[in-house]
């Protein structure tokens, strides 16, 4: 069954003047940008990030941005920006919100 993800339809999948798309899916772009912004604000050094990402890449086999996302989840916890419980509760809340949203409408957390 095809999963329909209306709010993720975005023109950024088709960058106008690059042969290869930079990101395969919008979530990759979001994960990428969060890391760069958190680093810019000084929440971690780039070496700390490279080390965290490198450890993920070494320990299991997955597409690059899945490693990236797993490393981001680890580093925000290690740096005390959010707890794991907080994060997992929020994942569930978004899932409930998505299921409560009629197809084609924006998914909002208030529906969870």
């Amino acid at each position: 069954m095809m999963t329909c993800r209306p709010i993720f339809l975005s023109p950024i999948l088709n960058p106008p003047d690059l042969k290869d798309p930079v990101f395969n899916e919008p979530w990759e772009a979001q994960a990428f940008a969060m890391v760069v912004k958190l680093h810019e604000r000084g929440h971690f050094t780039w070496s700390e990030w490279a080390e965290t990402l490198g450890a993920e890449i070494k320990s299991w086999d997955a597409p690059y941005y899945e490693h990236w996302l797993a490393a981001l989840e680890k580093i925000v916890e290690a740096k005390g920006l959010m707890s794991q419980v907080e994060r997992l509760n929020r994942v569930e809340a978004w899932d409930r919100a998505a299921h409560a949203t009629p197809h084609g409408q924006p998914i909002e957390l208030s529906r969870s």
Partner: protein, 202 residues
Amino acid sequence: MPHDGHDDHSELSPIALRVKALESLLVEKGYVDPAALDVLIDTYETRIGPRNGAKVVAKAWTDPAYAKWLKDDATQAIASLGFTGRQGEHMVALFNTPEIHNMVVCTLCSCYPWPVLGLPPVWYKSPPYRSRAVSDPRGVLKEFGVTLPEKTKISVWDSTAEIRYLVVPLRPANTENLSEEELAGLVNRDSMIGTRLAGRTA
């Protein structure tokens, strides 16, 4: 996006849920600004890319003083063209010669000179490239369609979080009459990683 077979409610993939959870919490807590995230993504997708690096290379081909500066202090020489790093990385330019061909890899993760080359291509991040660039660089080059003379040595450089490399490929023959802009058109992205040569057949 195909719309056949969907339910009447929406669904987010497990990975999209994880990203939304992180983002919404970081925004709520004031750690990131959602508008700034969008600006950053747009910048990387449309405005930063290998054309920046190509300008650096073409300038080095045509301007000996700039080439020397690039060799001595690549970070400053590149910044003088307006390309500066977000991660504060130190740039080193590696000049190919008929004797030495340089090739860049990041065996740890995928450190890459974003300001001049944009985001890394998929193969650069792949485990086979990361390991084989070190163990069998000549074989990797062959797969990219590059066969170097036997006497040309290959130097492989491993990027780190602190040091990023930019390969300055050899200027193609018979290009004396081209302008700097035309020359930049001959510099493809892979030639600045060292897996291809510069030239019309990119």
